[in-house]
Amino acid sequence: MDIAEVDRVIDQHGAEPSALIQILLEIQRRHHWLPGAALDRVAGRLGVPMTRVRHIATFYKAFSLVPKGRHEVHVCLGTACHVRGAERVLDAVRDATGLLPGETDAELRFSLETVNCLGCCALGPVMVVDGKTHGKLSPAAAADALKSYE
């Protein structure tokens, strides 16, 4: 991500300290993680100390300080999914990807995360890959679904 793009995001939201979270969300959305250079730029232009930028970037779950895989896999562990067997779906996804939640593989193919409710409770257990929802999953179906992502 080049600095000009970071500047454009900042300009869109206004270089105000209150826009910090919204700006970081936009950088995260475009780039899938928050590179150090981008954080430096945001801190500088918003006049916010780096400690606070880092505090935000680590406090909120939407942000990542390391590069993410091409495909972001979110396994829902919300209550409705939990009582319908989400743990076993997660086990199957872990086996299929070789990842623990929070990890990304060396080829940058998958990043695995768990989430606490995506609001698709009627379809549980649910897994979202790159924004696409896969519902009513069995462990085997979850592992199968991942095969179509290169």
Binding site: I21, L25, R52, G78, C117, G119, C121, L123, P139
Partner: protein
């Protein structure tokens, strides 16, 4: 559309919209909420578009993507108006036939209708389906009739009439009096009287004042706010405008979880359309009232649903709760008086203004008025969003609306109130739904999640699950919550692993008491509820785990062994092929035996074993019988013997 400068111009626009509409016009309404979209609704809509175009019917038959209908289990849902013929689990392949036979031919397609699981009877019209029939959809009902991306649809249903009433016929004090008289209580969880809250903010000293919509719906298992925000954003906006007028605020914020992209998108469209029409901005409808609203996306922190944390997050800071008082009504956003309400609360406001407080207050129990939307999920036949009058017995929600428990299983408990709530056992199912009623039973209303659990759900594991959730979500600012939860989690995990000790329950109770007394915010104060309520009603399950190392629900992995009953195994090879660790020994006509040393209790064999055999069983608290000797493992098939 041109900007509207007076209430008369709004009325004229509404009349024009209605004049263009033929109430008898054929319309294909497909649910375009997140649930149905996940089930493939977008492809269904596209298939309809192509089919209508191919037949030259695009101008004659309307196609509408609506808000969430609530019956998410059976999506994608298509309703054919004006007859309200309801088709469930529609696929693009069904579309040509649906247009030919139902839309044009007027006959229903049997296989797409709702089938009653008990009687096998079919239902044609949406309102006649038991799931809907026993509901009272005052707030949520409009979702199904409108396209959330078209303000005209909302206006056609009488939208923004309540705003006109407030701006031109009521003083701010009268609006507050009306909301107070309705006895509306906050739908986000705490149940504080909304009118009283508004009055505090109105009377508070300091300018400017702010109003905020809390759509940081983090409670796992609850998604009514998402469906309202996605499916009827103008109703929430109208409520917010009325509240802002009553309190004297000119700026408002929508705080929406980033996990809800469709809600953010539809809300953004709604705000733009309202602004174009002059329903937002300067001098709204010529009344002299100014109001602007902005959308702020959350960044993934459960604790931000707590109001003081949410406000800090709006300022671009970490969402760590602070002690109250001062309450946000006195010192909120940027230190100014702020009124913050939940999505569903705001969406109730137009209803109260339109129909009057008396009519609203006529519904419900003495202390809980109006209707409430619940998300009925978990081990229940009809999963989805249901809106019911306060005071309805829980039993009716589970059996009349929810259709009971699937698979002939037994109801065990209903978890309400999210991670801070509790579990209601079978014996209390006749409890009427209400804020105080649920609290007295050791649970709470919360934002309205109702998670149904059956005999296969382990209550100790449920308590462990919620405490784990809260341990992760605790912001870490105060010690009782940060450290107390961690210790509770450690002990509960030990118990579910069969390493529980005498004295564990007492230690848990002590930590729980401290967390309740000494935590800063509601997250910590209520964090012990899932443990305390499960202990209150299911103490025997805890004791079985600790003393007998037995999980009565056969759910805790460390306490169960999987075993194949040699009397029942028909050597069908299904489990043998599917076992991920190769722990099953056997073959064609050779009874399968699980090697206990290699089995990980993943449950795959249990799931694939045909129900007619039912040979794979879970055992807990009893020793696994020794494998039968090799020479007795041959299965003699009845048919083969005959040959």
């Amino acid at each position: 559309m041109p900007r509207l400068n007076s209430r008369e111009e709004l009325d004229r626009l509404r009349r024009e919209i209605l004049a263009r509409r033929d109430p008898g016009q054929r319309c294909i309404a497909t649910c375009a909420g997140t649930g149905c979209l996940a089930s493939g609704a977008a492809d269904v809509v596209e298939a309809f578009r192509r089919e209508l175009a191919a037949r030259g019917l695009t101008d004659k038959i309307a196609l509408r993507g609506t808000g969430c209908h609530g019956f998410c289990e059976k999506g994608p849902i298509v309703v054919l108006d004006p007859e309200e013929i309801c088709c469930l689990q529609v696929t693009p392949a069904d579309v040509p036939e649906l247009v030919e036979r139902t839309v044009l031919g007027g006959e229903v397609i049997d296989r797409l209708l709702y089938v009653d699981p008990q009687t096998g009877g079919k239902t044609i019209r949406e309102p006649d389906i038991p799931f809907y029939k026993h509901q009272q959809r005052l707030v949520f009902g409009a979702n199904r009739k409108l396209d959330p991306r078209r303000i005209e649809d909302y206006l056609a249903l009488g939208g923004y009439r309540a705003l006109v009433k407030a701006l031109f016929e009521r003083t701010p004090e009268q609006v507050i009096a009306e909301v107070k008289a309705s006895k509306l209580r906050g739908r986000g969880g705490a149940g504080f009287p909304t009118g009283v809250k508004w009055e505090f903010a109105r009377r508070a000293a300091g300018e400017p004042k702010y109003v905020v919509v809390n759509c940081d719906e983090g409670d796992p298992g609850a998604y009514m706010d998402r469906s309202l925000m996605e499916g009827n954003p103008h109703a929430v906006l109208e409520g917010l405008l009325i509240g802002a007028y009553a309190i004297g605020a000119h700026e408002g914020y929508f705080y929406v979880r980033q996990e809800y992209p469709l809600a953010v998108e539809n809300l953004g469209i709604a705000l733009r359309q309202a602004e174009e029409l002059g329903l937002l901005g300067k001098n709204i409808l010529g009344s002299g009232f100014d109001f602007t609203a902005r959308v702020h996306r959350g960044a993934g922190a459960f604790v931000c649903g707590e109001e003081t944390a949410l406000l800090l997050s709006l300022e671009g800071r970490p969402g760590e709760p602070r002690p109250r008082p001062p309450y946000p009504a006195i010192q909120g956003l940027w230190g100014k008086p702020t009124n913050i309400n939940n999505v569903e609360t705001w969406a109730n406001i137009p209803l109260i203004l339109n129909d009057g407080a008396a009519k609203f207050a006529a519904i419900g129990t003495a202390e809980s008025k109006g209707t409430k939307i619940f998300s009925l999920v978990g081990k229940i036949c009809n999963t989805g969003l249901v809106e019911v009058p306060m005071g309805i017995p829980l039993r009716d929600v589970v059996y009349k609306i929810g259709g009971g428990i699937p698979g002939g299983k037994k109801f065990k408990a209903m978890q309400t109130g999210g991670p801070s709530g509790g579990c209601i056992p079978e014996a209390l199912l006749d409890l009427p739904v209400g804020f105080d009623e649920l609290t007295r039973a050791g649970s709470m209303m919360g934002s309205g999640g109702m998670i149904v659990m059956d005999e296969d759900t382990c209550m100790v594991d449920v308590a462990r699950y919620f405490v784990e959730f809260l341990t992760e979500e605790s912001c870490g600012k105060c010690v009782p919550c940060r450290e107390g939860l961690r210790q509770m989690h450690r002990i509960l995990t030990r118990i579910t692993r069969g390493e529980g000790r005498e004295g564990d329950l007492e230690a848990l109770e002590q930590i729980a008491e401290t967390a309740v007394e000494a935590s800063l915010c509601a997250l910590g104060k209520t964090a012990a509820n899932p443990f305390l309520s499960t202990l209150r009603y299911f103490r025997d399950e805890y004791e079985a785990h600790i003393r007998e190392k037995r999980c009565p629900a056969l759910s805790c992995k460390a306490l169960i062994r999987t075993w194949i009953d040699p009397e029942k195994c028909r050597a069908c090879m299904l489990c043998l092929k599917k076992c991920p660790t190769g722990a099953i020994d056997g073959g064609k006509q050779r009874i399968h035996v699980i090697d206990q040393a290699r089995c990980t209790n993943c449950g795959t064999c249990f799931e694939v074993c045909p129900t007619k055999f039912g040979a794979v069983r879970k055992l807990s608290g009893v020793p696994v019988p020794p494998p039968i000797p090799e020479e007795r493992r041959t299965v003699a098939r009845a048919r083969k013997q005959d040959e």
